[in-house]
């Protein structure tokens, strides 16, 4: 399969791993920002190919994982109204709220539908003028343009029965928050290739300069990730700290201006709470006032719903790269994909789910936690 097979070549992966081992001199901790990268690393066992000087820690880039608990509760409150058709991407359906998830709400009679695009929800609104159709607009900069476009389309078509529950988050403020923490031990970043396809690389340049960390925009296949690690290690060993683009087949330095313009037209930057991490200033997107009629939070008056995380869940520490999933007392016992305590156990991009699926039983000489001697 073109554009996949060549990036999963075992021989190329081995060559890159050998090159990394040649280059590395000191101990380095590198954070892959995106949950899709975490999934690939654990699925393909890439961390096992790296020399022991390199520790990979998993970042906050799973949209399902960082959507705050209270937002799930608000989604369930809206979905439970009889006039509402509540639409969501598939992997949000099993994320636990305070007392239940959207799938359980569906089982209790809520009209919850899985869609593959926000435009499917717009179409549902057009086809069901007597119902209120609400789309759960979550994710990073990657999903924001299509979600903004859906709202704009509803406005143009004058679909007053369409609204979105927005919980969008932005990557650069999260990286800044991690770097600002006194506990931070991350020396370099693999930035999320798909996010940068939209935003480009420019936003990362001041971060790399201010915190003196290399940031390599990286793809998702084994060869991509190993090449990203190599580029990062080469910078670290030379004490350089610039933004480089490994994922050049998808990412342009200036990003996708049309997509950014659509986000800017419909949404504006706002403070946002990240599940497990807490409030990060100017780290999210909300609808502009001109689009207030399409804001489900206002329409259904659910803004006052708040929630408390389970004290047994350490997903916040996992999302900041301060703990590994299998360092949690609840991992695999109280918390499993069937009964998740936190969202990191739900999505296929969640670090806890990736560890549960691929690391639960240590494989002969292979599947131990990443370099036990170098854990955070």
């Amino acid at each position: 399969m073109r554009f996949v097979d060549e990036y999963r070549s075992s021989a190329d992966a081995q060559r890159l791993a050998a090159r990394i081992a040649d280059v590395v001199r000191s101990d380095w901790t590198i954070m892959e920002v995106c949950g899709g990268q975490t999934h690939s690393i654990v699925r393909f066992g890439l961390d096992q190919m790296l020399p022991e000087q390199i520790t990979l820690v998993h970042g906050p880039g799973c949209p399902v994982c960082v959507t705050p608990l209270e937002m799930i509760d608000r989604a369930i409150a809206i979905a439970s109204r009889p006039e509402v058709i509540f639409c969501s991407f598939g992997d949000m359906l099993r994320v636990p709220g305070s007392s239940q998830d959207l799938m359980s709400a569906k089982a209790s009679g809520a009209d919850v539908r899985m869609v593959y695009s926000p435009l499917d929800a717009v179409e549902l609104a057009r086809a069901n003028p007597d119902r209120e159709v609400v789309f759960f607009a979550v994710g990073f900069e990657t999903t924001a343009p299509a979600n903004a476009g859906a709202v704009e389309m509803a406005r143009v078509q004058n679909l007053r029965n369409f609204s979105v529950l927005v919980s969008h988050v932005l990557v650069p403020p999260a990286i800044t928050a991690i770097l600002s923490s006194p506990d931070c031990r991350v020396n370099g970043f693999l930035a999320a290739g798909h996010v940068c396809t939209i935003t480009g690389c420019l936003e990362y340049e001041p971060i790399a300069a201010q915190y003196r960390v290399p940031i390599v925009v990286t793809g998702f296949e084994p060869v991509d990730i190993l090449q990203g690690v190599l580029m990062c290690v080469e910078q670290l060993e030379r004490r350089r700290h610039t933004v480089e683009n490994q994922y050049a087949r998808s990412v342009r330095r200036e990003g996708n201006p049309a997509a950014m313009a659509m986000i800017g037209k419909v949404m504006e930057v706002t403070d946002r709470t990240w599940r497990g991490i807490g409030a990060i200033p100017m780290s999210g997107l909300r609808l502009r006032d001109a689009y207030a009629d399409f804001d489900a939070e206002r329409k259904f008056d659910v803004g006052s719903i708040t929630a408390q995380e389970s004290p047994d869940c350490i997903s916040g520490l996992v999302l900041q790269g301060l703990r590994r999933p299998n360092q949690c007392a609840a991992f695999g016992t109280m918390c499993t994909p069937e009964h998740p305590l936190g969202a990191t156990m739900v999505s296929s991009e969640g670090a806890c789910a990736a560890y549960y699926r691929y690391r639960r039983t240590p494989a002969a000489g292979a599947a131990q936690p990443t370099h036990a001697g170098h854990q955070p």
Binding site: A13, G45, D91, M114, Y116, E338, S348, R360
Partner: protein
């Protein structure tokens, strides 16, 4: 529509759709049974209709199984719910080394279901049964109110005669056994989802839905020592291997690169965030065979069209803890069953 074979006469045709009375036990129901089911499936011998069927069995050891079928849409590329209902049960018998002989078929019909749809499904069941050499000898019909079922549900049960010499099952698996899959994975699950969700993936992916007794018969006739067979339905290869590994207390190691998956299926899985190892099949199975008989087994399987691409994907590497390991680019990692259903990821 054009239906080969029996066509529904009056009074069925007076009702273009199923009504509650078709399940009411009266004359309308008898007409439905006679005109739809008996005319398609045939009566058993010359005996008059009765509450149960009397069966002649060629062997004293028989296999018996049952399964229910619900699928949306009822028709999908290459097959429909009728073929699924016949092949699903036939394949469960075949996996025990049994020649499928007789089936029962029970229908739960939704009020309002077009009679044409029922007739089309019944016809494909009739064809599927004939292709596989089984007789549908008894059945039942119920009608539920509109909205209480998704068009139609079918339950089939099957009886087959055991033709394997020893037992086939997880308990027979031995350390060193070779693990063979009968063909490429994931076509059925992706084909059904593509139709249901209205996806176009460039090339149309068709379901692998097919009867598996022929390849099993070829495998048994080859003289290869077959220890375990399992069809790869819901949960896919991953669930089948984990179930066998856990119940037999064995470690199975398979190589990702060796597992055949068509490019179109891989692309669809990449787009949706699915793992082909978890996607459903309806015409594929895994065989555990004695390792020095593996070549003979693969050669025999490749004589049948449905298993022409049979290939070895790994072997049983240890006894003890039941687990499945996958050899990937970077090393070995465990394979787990799916938790719940596969959900497409956000991005």
């Amino acid at each position: 529509m054009n239906i080969e074979g029996p066509v529904c006469p009056v009074p069925l045709s007076r009702y273009p759709a199923i009504v509650m009375a078709h399940g009411g036990g009266g004359r309308l129901m008898r007409d439905l049974i006679e005109n739809a089911f008996i005319s398609a499936f045939g009566a058993v011998g010359d005996r008059p209709a009765h509450d149960s069927a009397a069966l002649d069995l060629p062997t004293a050891r028989i296999a018996f199984t049952t399964d229910s079928f619900l699928i949306r849409p009822l028709y999908f590329p290459n097959a429909d719910i009728g073929e699924l209902a016949v092949y699903g049960t036939v394949n469960d018998l075949a996996m025990g080394g049994a020649r499928p002989l007789y089936l029962s078929a029970s229908f739960i019909l939704e009020e309002g279901l077009p009679v044409d749809t029922l007739m089309r499904v019944v016809q494909s069941m009739s064809r599927a049964a004939a292709d596989t050499g089984v007789a549908i000898v008894t059945g039942d019909t119920k009608v539920v109110e509109k909205g209480r079922c998704d068009g139609m549900y079918i339950t089939t049960a099957g009886v087959g005669s055991l033709e394997c010499v020893g037992t086939i099952g997880p308990a027979e698996v031995r350390e060193g056994d070779t693990v063979i899959v009968s063909g490429d994975l994931g076509r059925h699950g992706i084909a059904v989802m593509a139709v249901r969700e209205g996806f176009a993936f460039g090339t149309q992916i068709v379901s692998d839905c097919a009867p598996l007794w022929d390849p099993v018969q070829a495998l048994l006739a080859s003289g290869a020592e077959v220890h375990c067979l399992r069809d790869l339905t819901r949960g896919g290869l991953a669930s089948a291997l984990v179930e066998i590994a856990e119940s037999a207390h064995i470690e199975v190691t398979v190589t990702e690169e060796a597992i055949p998956v068509a490019d179109a299926v891989r692309s669809a899985c990449e787009i949706l965030g699915y793992d082909p190892l978890h996607v459903a099949n309806e015409g594929r199975f895994v065989a555990f065979v004695r390792s020095d008989h593996a070549d003979r087994a693969i050669e025999a399987l490749r004589t049948c069209a449905v298993s022409a691409d049979a290939v070895s994907i790994g072997r049983v590497t240890a006894r003890g803890e039941g687990r499945v390991l996958l050899r990937t680019v970077g090393g070995l990692r465990p394979v787990d069953m799916l938790s719940g259903e596969q959900l497409p990821r956000i991005c």
